[in-house]
């Protein structure tokens, strides 16, 4: 939950990125004796909104649980987490994610088992020899205590691609709710449980991107199938995804049943949710990507373009505002989701940064000009959008193609003068038109004219226009 403001149980920052190691720490998040946790309201509000967005049954109150295991990055050697037994009450049980398969353009469903709010451990780096051989481990506790949502699905996913699409959709929902910025380094991690018919379940840890979700699972399916088809057995184990090598490797030798000594954290009385539910519900309702997608498609926009808008929130906001002010939906969508977004990509500008996008009035104006035939779409795309993408604040008039004032009379004059070219054109020599267009532009004495518009005007004049 990168957007929670503070850590889950203290006032250190939730977004620690860019800070010197161990400078975002206090007695609470490094677990000094006597320090006590107090729950950050925003973490609970956001987690509750996420639970509602995924149709969970939310409890009357939540109870945090201590989960014990010794590890250098866990300062108290217990993690304050959630558990559904031994007095614990997680924020969500049950629930489901309806996610979009963007290849088949159909909604699929994956059930959720539960959602936990918990504290992140610190971050460990190892010296020479890595995790298996390094003499020392080096720990940075800046991340220790940052609120995490642990979302656990039921085994409803049939392929690596589905898993990836599910993760992407879940991240989209969380981004819309303002829970996380999935593009921040380390904003999410995925553990995938993979089993192939005839073998045991294998857990793959340390997957750090949505692309790797697909890669890691496919690798694991391949690996397990190969073992099975050569007559071997797939044992239950935990493996580590190595993104650089594109493979998984065993993490622990023997996977013994761990005993986490779960019990409710006596320092944290139950948190009642009643007062938060209404706000969280409206937050979830107003920020539902599937509803927004449906709304855009309803306006006659293609699914591909609609998806492109929804997956880039500032683009979607711009689109919805423009349409609200009367702009043509299809043209607006094309301009925003396809061509302007393409320009941003080309210029390496961040499409998720609202300041990369022009004001709504610019879009409504451009769409109007195209719609009314003042400019062709291509002129806007080829001349206006590249300049806007460079500087969305630029004065719109200064980047619009100029228009000759008395274009019709100039065309008349040129056609009269260039009788021969007209004849050639009329008798089928298409390239004569280029000459005529050039002559008109030259006669106006201006450069930033839209050649296509002039061509259309000439054609119209000669009775060939459509």
């Amino acid at each position: 939950m990168t957007e929670a403001g503070s850590k889950l149980f203290c006032n250190c920052k939730a977004n620690y990125r860019g800070m010197e190691p161990n400078t975002n720490v206090c007695p609470v998040c490094i677990g000094l004796p006597g320090a006590l946790p107090v729950v950050n309201r925003k973490s609970v509000e956001l987690a509750l909104a996420a639970s509602l967005a995924f149709s969970c049954s939310t409890p009357e109150y939540i109870v945090f649980t201590r989960k014990h295991y010794f590890y250098p990055d866990l300062p108290k050697n217990y993690q304050i987490s959630m558990y559904e037994r031994a007095g614990g009450v997680p924020i969500c049980r049950g629930g489901r994610v309806r996610y979009l398969d963007i290849h088949a353009w159909e909604w699929k469903e994956c059930r959720l088992r539960r959602i936990n709010i918990e504290e992140d451990p610190g971050k460990t780096v190892y010296g020479e020899g890595g995790i298996l051989r390094s003499a020392e481990a080096y720990v940075d506790y800046n991340r220790s205590g940052v609120p995490l949502l642990e979302i656990i699905t039921e085994p409803d996913l049939g392929s690596a691609r589905e898993a990836r699409q599910l993760v992407e959709y879940v991240l989209l929902v969380l981004e819309y709710l303002g829970v996380t910025n999935p593009r921040l380094e380390g904003a999410f991690r995925v553990d995938a449980n993979v089993s192939v018919e005839g073998g045991e379940r294998v857990e793959v840890k340390n997957i750090g991107s949505t692309l790797d979700v697909e890669r890691a699972i496919n690798y694991e399916i391949m690996r397990q199938s190969a073992i099975l088809s050569s007559g071997g057995k797939v044992e239950r184990e935990t493996r580590h995804w190595d993104a650089e090598r594109g493979s998984t490797r065993p993490l622990r030798q023997k996977e013994q049943e761990e005993d986490y000594l779960y019990f409710p954290d006596p320092d944290l009385p139950p948190i009642f949710l009643r007062e938060m539910v209404d706000r969280a519900r409206s937050l979830a309702a107003l920020n539902d990507p599937s509803a927004l997608f449906a709304q855009v498609v309803e306006l006659g926009v293609s699914k591909e373009m609609a998806w492109s808008l929804v997956t880039t929130r500032p683009a979607l906001e711009l689109f919805l505002q423009s349409v609200k002010r009367g702009a043509d939906p299809q043209l607006s969508a094309r301009l925003i989701a396809v061509d302007y977004k393409g320009e941003l990509r080309e210029k390496n500008r961040d499409p998720y940064d609202p300041s990369s996008w022009p004001a709504t009035e610019y879009v409504t104006e451009l769409v109007r000009l195209v719609k009314e035939g003042v400019y062709t779409y291509d002129a806007v795309k080829g001349i206006v959008l590249p300049k806007l993408a460079e500087n969305p604040m630029v004065d719109l008039k200064s980047v619009l193609p100029q228009r000759a004032e008395n274009l019709d009379s100039i065309i008349d004059e040129v056609l009269k003068r260039e009788e021969r070219a007209v004849k050639d054109y009329l008798s089928g020599k298409a390239q004569a038109m280029n000459y005529l267009v050039g002559a008109v532009i030259k006669a106006t004495g201006k450069k930033a004219l839209d050649p296509r518009a002039i061509r259309e005007a000439i054609e119209k004049r000669l009775g060939r226009g459509s």
Binding site: G34, A35, F70
Partner: protein
Amino acid sequence: MKSREAWQELEKIREGRDVVGHVEEVLARVEKWEGEVKAYISLEIPELLRQRGEELERRLRKGEKVGKLAGLLVSVKDNICTTALPTTAGSRMLDGYVSPYNATVVERLLAEDAIVIGKTNLDEFAMGSTTELSAFWPTRNPWDLTRVPGGSSGGSASSLAYGGADLSLGSDTGGSARLPAAYTATVGLKPTYGLVSRYGLIPYGNSLEQISPMARSVRDVALLLEVIGGWDARDATSLRVGSPVFSLEPAEARGQKICLVKEMVEGAEEPVEKLFWNVVEKLSSEGAELEEVRIPVLSKALPTYYTIAFAEAASNLARYAGIFYPSKGSSGIWEEYVGEARAKGFGREVKRRILMGVYALSEGFRDEFYVAATRVRRAIRDEVLKLTRRCIIAAQASPILPPRIGERLDDPLKLYYMDMYTVVANLAGVPALVQPIGFSHGLPVGIQWIAGPLEEQKLISLGLLVESLTGLAGVMVD
């Protein structure tokens, strides 16, 4: 036997008596007794204490407003975090550890111009009832140096009993402030759970314990509780109540309803029983109404208490793994290093309690032990709340007189048994006061009063009444 109450010292200071003189007086007591009693793990440098005294004198001379505890010397149990002096919790694990922050109660003391004189000895991590289980040394009882002062706040109690502090902060998980009070003729009040912030108290049994004011009189205890009590945003279990303000009017015996719970009265050795009944009958003869009650579930209070305390302790003490604390391992392999740091840093009783706590929480045993204990706890709490709605409970403080040093060390169960009357108030969350009622063969005996949630006032009023009967307010050794 001498008598000195902190509020009297405070009045003298406000009337213009020099603060440094008071500091010297207390330091002289320390000089006389500390070598034998060993109540303190660390003492503030005398010169610094005098300086604090001079500073206060200057402010008083200028007519500046000073705090409610201006010039009083307060000893603080060494499981309460302070930045000025190390905080060891009586353990090798934390030998030399200096907390980077002050506990909320310490901040409140300092804000009222109290002077922290030193940090007092305790059973390691407050796990014990005699203060013999300190990793450093046992503290002796000033009333009889061959005997223990009780525990785990034995250092605090002894510092008061010999006059080495005006007031003291102890902690009480299952009787740790009240048992020492009973053994040293001092007063200990375990507040309602949540009245005093636990922020900065090194936890042993979080759901049970409270930092507890200790002093030589009921009035002094009230004074200290007014300063440390009240809501703290840093402790999620602290109650949303303001700082308490107490009336110092003693209760009337007439109309006072006192319940004698058999399970908390019977079973004490003869001299203790005798003094108990003396006081109760005196109150009765002056008009108090007595009622005998039975609460059979209280016979399960001790195992219930220990099961919960062990479980919480095992969890709380997991953090001591050699990274941030003084006790280190020597192996280069993580798991071995942690095991060594913990083996070296913890004493035997702490190891026992950790292992027992792990047992009580582990899969397959959790329901039979930890969860079962929380179920019995509910029954106990409900019974106690029901009863305290209609009366104050009178109970023994300890089944025995202060034992000799070494006497109770061989058998852990014999040690646990000493808490049989005190754990009830911790399980039920309610306030309980122990005050002296007399001496048997020169050894102090105390009585315990238990009231309903946030009814500290009732305890204080009754305590003042009992003091007027016993005349034991302020007593200390010569």
